[in-house]
C-alpha cells in the first residue's frame, strides 16, 4: 500500500484549519486511510492509502475527502471548467510505441510555495510507481503552460533526429543521447524500445519538445514556484489507467483553485475529450444498500452519506442515482456504493451482531484428524515436535544428506538459493535439525507432521501435497530396534497392520533400512542413518529414523 508524506503546514493551510493527531485519527476511521505518523517536529504527516483510492495519493484529494467528512463541503466539487481549449493530435506512428495519451490544461493554480510544488511532484512519483507500474503503464508530464504554444502533437520521431534540453541539463541533447547518457534514460529506455529506434514525443506547435515520455520532460517547461497555468500530459499503454491518472492530477489542481480546460485528443481513429467533463452515473437500489449495511436507513441518510463521501446522489424514494466523479475508479458494481455508505456512516457506528441462526456443524479436515492422532501418540512416546519450512534448497534436500536427486517443485523467482524448491520428504529437515542441536542433551527424540510436495503430472496442478510424519531418535547408543519399536507402538495403538520389507536407500545404512508397509501398502521408510552422512552433518551419535505417509491407507 502506498505511503505518502505531506508537509504539515501546507496540508493544514489547504484544509483551512489545524487538526491534532487524535482529531485526524478519528476522522480517518471513516476512510481506508491509515495515519502512519504525525510528527510536528519534522513538520510531516504520513498516510497509508489503499490501491483502490489512488485519488488520495495527492494530498489535495485527501483534503477534499476530509472536508466532506467534516461536512464543510458536500458532493462532487464543482471546479470551474471550460471545454475544448485546443487539440492534441496523435499520429499513427506513435501508437506502435506508446499507444495512448490524454491531456488537460489547468489555469490559475495556487502553487506559490516550494512545498506545494514538492507535494505535486511527490504525488506524480507515487502515481508512476503504483498505477503507472513504474511508468510502464502510465507516465505523467507536468508543464508550465506559459512556455507552450498549442496545439500539441503526440508523435514518434527517430531518436537521433530530434534534440532538446532535458530537465536538469544545460545543453541540448539528441533523444538518442538522452536515452543513453541520462540517469532516467538508462532507467526507462527499455519501456519504449522498438526496432525503428523511434521515440514518443509531446511537441507544441513550434515543434518544441515538451517531453519524451515516459522518460523525461524538457527543461523548457520546468515548473517553478508561482507557476499559474499547467499543461498536463499522461501517456501509457492502458487508456483507462491514464485517463484515471489525469483525473486525479486535474482534480487535485482543482482543489488548488485551478480552472480546468478540457482538451480534444484526436487519434487517427477516435476523438476524446479529456478530462471527462461530466461525472458518470450509477443507479443503485436503496434496499440493496440497506441489505448490505444491515441497518434501516432513510433515503435522505443514504444520500447524505454519499455526499459526505464527495459523490453526488439523488433519490426517487427507492433508487439512488449516484454521480461518480472521474477521479474515482472504484465503482464497478452497486456494492461499491453500498460500501461507501457503510464506511462514511462509520463501521463502528453500525454496531455488530453475531447471527445465531446460521447453524452448521464444525469439523476437522480428515488430514488434520489423522495428524492429531499421530501427534498424540508421538508425544506419548516421548518425542518433541518440531516445525520446518516447506521451502528449502536442493542441496539441503539431496547432497547434504546423501539422498539421490529426484524431481522436485522449483520456483522461478527465489529470494535466495536456500528457499528455491519444495521439500519432497521430511527426513532432510529432521537431520538438519539434529545437526543444529548437537550441543543439546541426548537422547534427542523429535518428530514433525507436515506437508511435502510431490511432482505428479496427473494431478490438476502437476504437484500434490502429501501429509507425512517423520520421527528421529538420536542418542549415544540407539538403533533400528528402538525406532522400530516406536513405529510398532504407533501402528498397534492406531489399529494399523505394520510390516517391514528389507530395502536399501540413502541416507539409510544398507542392511539397516526397510520399507514400511501399512495395511499392506508401501507407506514410508525406516532405518539407521549412514554414519558417513551423520559425520558430514556434524552429528556424532547414531540416528534412527522413520517417515510415513498420512493418511494411513485403509485396510
Amino acid at each position: 500500500m502506498p505511503v505518502i508524506t505531506v508537509n504539515m503546514r501546507e496540508f493544514f493551510r489547504l484544509l483551512g484549519e489545524e487538526l491534532d493527531e487524535d482529531e485526524l485519527t478519528s476522522l480517518l476511521e471513516y476512510t481506508k486511510v491509515n495515519l502512519e505518523a504525525y510528527d510536528p517536529e519534522e513538520g510531516e504527516i504520513e498516510f497509508e492509502v489503499t490501491a483502490d483510492r489512488m485519488d488520495l495519493v495527492a494530498m489535495e484529494g485527501l483534503i477534499r475527502l476530509i472536508k466532506g467528512l467534516m461536512e464543510r463541503e458536500l458532493g462532487i466539487p464543482r471546479y470551474p471548467m471550460r471545454r475544448k481549449a485546443f487539440q492534441v493530435r496523435v499520429t499513427e506512428s506513435v501508437r506502435r510505441i506508446r499507444p495512448y495519451v490524454v491531456a488537460a490544461l489547468v489555469k490559475g493554480v495556487d502553487l506559490t510555495t516550494e512545498e506545494s510544488l514538492i507535494s505535486l511532484i511527490e504525488a506524480q512519483e507515487k502515481l508512476h510507481d503504483t498505477l503507472g507500474r513504474k511508468r510502464k503503464r502510465v507516465s505523467i508530464g507536468l508543464h508550465d503552460f506559459s512556455k507552450v504554444v498549442p496545439p500539441i502533437t503526440y508523435d514518434a520521431r527517430p531518436a537521433d533526429k530530434v534534440s532538446f534540453v532535458p530537465l536538469g541539463e544545460y545543453a541540448e541533447m539528441t533523444a538518442q543521447e538522452v536515452l543513453e547518457q541520462t540517469e532516467k534514460g538508462r532507467e526507462y529506455a527499455h519501456l519504449i524500445e522498438n526496432p525503428e529506434n523511434l521515440v514518443p514525443l509531446i511537441l507544441d506547435s513550434r515543434d518544441e519538445v515538451l517531453s519524451l515520455p515516459p522518460i523525461i520532460n524538457s527543461e523548457l517547461t520546468r515548473l517553478t514556484p508561482g507557476v499559474r497555468d499547467l499543461f498536463i500530459d499522461v501517456t501509457g499503454t492502458d487508456l483507462r489507467a491514464i485517463s484515471y491518472t489525469l483525473e486525479i492530477i486535474v482534480s487535485a489542481m482543482g482543489e488548488r483553485g485551478g480552472e480546468i480546460h478540457t482538451l480534444e485528443v484526436v487519434y487517427p481513429d477516435m476523438k476524446l475529450e479529456t478530462p471527462k467533463p461530466e461525472p458518470s452515473e450509477m443507479f443503485v437500489s436503496e434496499d440493496f444498500i440497506r441489505r448490505m449495511v444491515g441497518i434501516p436507513m432513510s433515503s435522505e441518510e443514504i444520500i447524505h452519506q454519499l455526499r459526505r463521501a464527495r459523490l453526488d446522489a439523488s433519490s426517487d424514494g427507492s433508487i439512488a442515482r449516484v454521480m461518480i466523479p472521474g477521479f474515482r475508479a472504484d465503482f464497478l458494481h452497486p456494492v461499491d456504493v453500498a460500501e461507501e455508505v457503510a464506511i462514511t456512516y462509520g463501521l463502528n457506528n453500525l454496531g455488530y451482531e453475531l447471527p445465531l441462526n446460521v447453524m452448521t456443524v464444525g469439523k476437522r479436515h480428515p488430514r488434520e484428524k489423522v495428524s492429531a492422532l499421530v501427534r498424540t501418540l508421538m508425544i506419548g512416546l516421548g518425542y518433541q515436535e518440531v516445525l520446518n519450512y516447506v521451502m528449502t534448497s536442493r542441496t539441503s534436500l539431496f547432497s547434504s544428506v546423501g539422498r539421490e536427486e529426484r524431481p522436485v517443485v522449483e520456483v522461478a523467482n527465489p529470494v535466495s538459493e536456500s528457499y528455491s524448491v519444495l521439500r519432497d520428504s521430511l527426513i532432510p529437515g529432521l537431520l538438519h535439525f539434529l545437526a543444529a542441536n548437537t550441543h543439546a542433551k541426548y537422547p534427542q527424540r523429535v518428530f514433525e507432521v507436515g506437508d511435502v510436495v510431490v511432482v505428479d503430472y496427473s494431478y490438476e496442478t502437476r504437484a500434490r501435497d502429501e501429509r507425512r510424519l517423520a520421527a528421529a531418535y538420536a542418542d549415544y547408543s540407539v538403533g533400528f530396534e528402538d525406532i522400530y519399536s516406536h513405529l510398532k507402538a504407533l501402528a498397534d495403538n492406531s489399529g494399523i497392520e505394520l510390516e517391514l520389507e528389507s530395502y536399501g536407500e540413502r541416507p539409510f545404512l544398507q542392511g539397516r533400512c526397510a520399507k514400511v508397509m501399512l495395511n499392506g501398502v508401501e507407506a514410508g521408510l525406516i532405518g539407521e542413518i549412514d554414519p558417513e552422512i551423520l559425520l558430514k552433518l556434524g552429528i556424532t551419535v547414531p540416528v534412527a529414523l522413520f517417515e510415513i505417509r498420512l493418511p494411513i491407507p485403509e485396510k
Binding site: R291, G294, L350, V390, V409, N413, L422, A436, V455
Partner: protein, 497 residues
C-alpha cells in the same frame, strides 16, 4: 539421642571408622559419586567434616612416555658402554647417539656420576662408573598412577620438569574426617536408626519397610530435569485456533500448495495485472513447467474470464481488459488461503455453510524479524442468506473474544475480492490496538460466476495472519522463531492455554 541414617550413609560412616576415622574420598571402596553425596549428608548432620585440598600431581608427558619406552639418553649411553666393556671413544658413541641425544647423554651421564671422561692421544673416551638413573623409577611409577609432587626428591623433580618428561596436573582432593559425634555413632555410643530413601518391592514384600524409617524428603530441593514429549508451541496454538473455529461450527478445508493462478487470483476477481500477481509478490513455479489442467472447470473458467473483461451477468463493469487463459493456468505457490475458500465455494456449497482453512502461504520476501519465507494464514467464510457487514463484524468480534480479546474495533479497508472490506483491531493489554484480521463480504464478481444467488446469498470472509497472533501469545519478537531450529528453546517453551 538417636540419629537416622540411610544405608549408604551408614556404610560410609563404617568404612571411614575402619580407616581410622579419616580418609581420602578417592581411597574409599564405595563408588565415588555416591560416597560424595552421602558424605555431604553426613556433614549436614554433623558426623564428619569435609576438607578440600588442591594437590599437584605428576603425570607422564609425551616425551616422558617415549623415553620410558626407549630409554633415557644417559641409559642408552650406559647400555652402549656396557656392551663395549665399560669404555668407548666419544667418536664411536656419537655414531650411535644422534646429535642432541648425544649431548644430553654425555651431560646427564657426567652430572649423575655415571661416566667419567678420559682424554688420551687416541681421542676422548667415556668410562662407565655408575648405573643409578633416579628419573627412571619415578617415570615408571607415574606411568600407572599419578604421583603427588611433594613425594618426589627435589633435585629429581627439577630435572624431570626441566627435561619435559613430566606434566603437572592439579587436582582437588577431598578428605573426610569423622567428628566426635561421628565416632560416637560409629562406635554405637549413639543409637543409629537405619533410614530408607527409596521404597522398593523387596522392602514391601519382606515387611522390612515397617522396621525401617522412611526418610523424609527435602521438598524444597529441585528434582532432576525431564524433557517430555511435547507439541511444538506454535502448532499447539494453531490447534487451539482450530478448536475455536470448529466450536463455532466451521468445517475445515484444504487446497494444494502448488496452485493455479486461477484459484489464487482470477476466481477472486483479482485482475491479471494486479501488482500482487507480479514476481515480487508471489512465487512462480519453474518446474513442473506445464500449466494447470483446468479442463474440469471449463464453464467456470469461461464465466470468470468474461466477468474480468466486462462483468458478464454480475452487474459489474468488469476490469475492461483482455483476460488471458494462459495466465490463469500458470502455476504459483499458494499466496493466500483464500484459494482454499475459492475452491470450496466453487465446488458448490450448501447454504448455509461455514468453512475455514489454516495453512501455509508463500511470498517472496527476504526473511527478517517480521517476514518469514512462508507463514500461516487462517481464513474463514460464512456462506448464508441475508448476511451483511454487521454480521461480518459480529463473527470477527466473537472470534476475537474466543481468542481472549474483549475490545474490538473496525476500520474500512481494501481487498480486491471483498466489498465492503473491513479490518479488525483488538485491544491488547500492553501493545494497544493491534490489527488482527482483514475481512469483507465476497464481491458479486466472485460469487455469481460460482453460481450463488447474490445478493440474497452472501459470503462473509476473513483472513488472519495467525503467526503474528501466535508471536504475541508466545512472547516472541522474531517471526522466524515460529520455525525455531533450537531444540533447547522447544524443550523449555511453555504451551499456551
Amino acid at each position: 539421642m538417636e540419629i537416622s541414617l540411610s544405608r549408604g550413609e551408614i556404610e560410609l560412616l563404617e568404612e571411614l571408622y575402619s580407616r581410622g576415622g579419616r580418609a581420602r574420598l578417592d581411597d574409599l571402596k564405595l563408588a565415588k559419586s555416591k560416597a560424595a553425596a552421602w558424605a555431604n549428608l553426613l556433614k549436614d548432620k554433623g558426623l564428619l567434616t569435609i576438607r578440600e585440598r588442591r594437590k599437584r600431581y605428576l603425570t607422564l608427558s609425551d616425551r616422558g612416555r617415549k623415553h620410558l619406552e626407549e630409554g633415557l639418553p644417559e641409559e642408552k649411553l650406559i647400555r652402549l658402554l656396557r656392551e663395549r666393556g665399560g669404555k668407548a671413544s666419544l667418536e664411536e658413541l656419537r655414531s650411535y647417539l644422534a646429535g642432541e641425544e648425544f649431548n644430553v647423554a654425555l651431560g646427564e651421564g657426567q652430572k649423575k656420576g655415571l661416566i667419567r671422561l678420559e682424554k688420551s692421544e687416541k681421542g676422548t673416551f667415556a668410562l662407565l662408573v655408575g648405573r643409578e638413573v633416579p628419573e627412571r623409577s619415578i617415570l615408571e611409577r607415574i606411568s600407572s598412577t599419578p604421583l603427588e609432587e611433594s613425594e618426589v626428591n627435589h633435585t629429581v623433580l627439577k630435572s624431570l620438569r626441566k627435561r619435559g618428561l613430566v606434566e603437572v596436573v592439579e587436582r582437588t582432593e577431598v578428605e573426610l574426617e569423622l567428628t566426635d559425634l561421628g565416632r560416637q555413632a560409629a562406635e554405637g555410643r549413639i543409637k543409629v536408626v537405619e533410614e530408607v530413601g527409596k521404597l522398593t518391592r523387596d522392602l514391601i514384600l519382606t515387611g522390612e519397610w515397617r522396621k525401617r524409617r522412611l526418610k523424609a524428603y527435602d521438598v524444597k530441593a529441585s528434582p532432576p530435569v525431564t524433557y517430555p514429549g511435547k507439541p511444538h508451541p506454535y502448532v499447539h496454538f494453531l490447534e487451539e485456533v482450530r478448536e475455536i473455529l470448529i466450536g463455532m461450527g466451521f468445517v475445515e478445508v484444504k487446497s494444494p500448495i502448488v496452485e493455479a493462478e486461477f484459484w489464487n487470483f482470477d476466481v477472486l476477481f483479482q485482475a491479471q495485472d494486479h501488482p500482487a500477481r507480479e514476481v515480487h509478490d508471489s512465487y512462480q513455479v519453474a518446474f513442473p513447467s506445464e500449466g494447470a489442467d483446468l479442463s474440469q472447470y471449463s464453464s467456470l473458467v469461461e464465466r470468470v474470464g468474461m466477468t474480468h473483461e466486462h462483468g458478464w451477468e454480475t452487474g459489474s463493469k468488469g476490469w475492461g481488459y483482455k483476460w488471458s487463459f494462459d495466465i490463469a493456468r500458470r502455476l504459483i505457490l499458494r499466496s493466500q488461503t483464500t484459494a482454499a475458500s475459492a475452491r470450496t465455494l466453487a465446488s458448490g456449497l450448501e447454504v448455509p455453510s461455514k468453512i475455514f482453512a489454516i495453512d501455509k502461504v508463500f511470498r517472496p520476501e527476504t526473511p527478517d524479524r517480521t517476514h518469514a519465507i512462508e507463514f500461516h494464514q487462517c481464513e474463514g467464510v460464512v456462506l448464508a442468506e441475508d448476511m451483511n457487514v454487521r454480521h461480518l463484524m459480529g463473527f470477527l468480534a466473537e472470534f476475537a473474544r474466543q481468542l481472549g480479546f474483549r475490545e474490538v474495533k473496525f476500520k474500512p479497508a481494501y481487498f480486491p475480492f471483498t466489498e465492503p472490506s473491513v479490518e479488525a483491531y483488538v485491544k491488547h493489554e500492553t501493545l494497544g490496538w493491534i490489527e488482527i484480521a482483514g475481512s469483507g463480504l465476497f464481491r458479486p464478481e466472485m460469487l455469481i460466476p460460482m453460481g450463488y444467488d447474490y445478493p440474497r446469498v452472501q459470503a462473509l470472509a476473513w483472513g488472519i495472519g495467525i503467526g503474528r497472533l501466535a508471536m504475541i501469545r508466545l512472547g516472541l519478537d522474531d517471526i522466524r522463531e515460529l520455525h525455531s531450529q533450537n531444540l533447547e528453546y522447544l524443550r523449555r517453551a511453555k504451551l499456551v492455554w
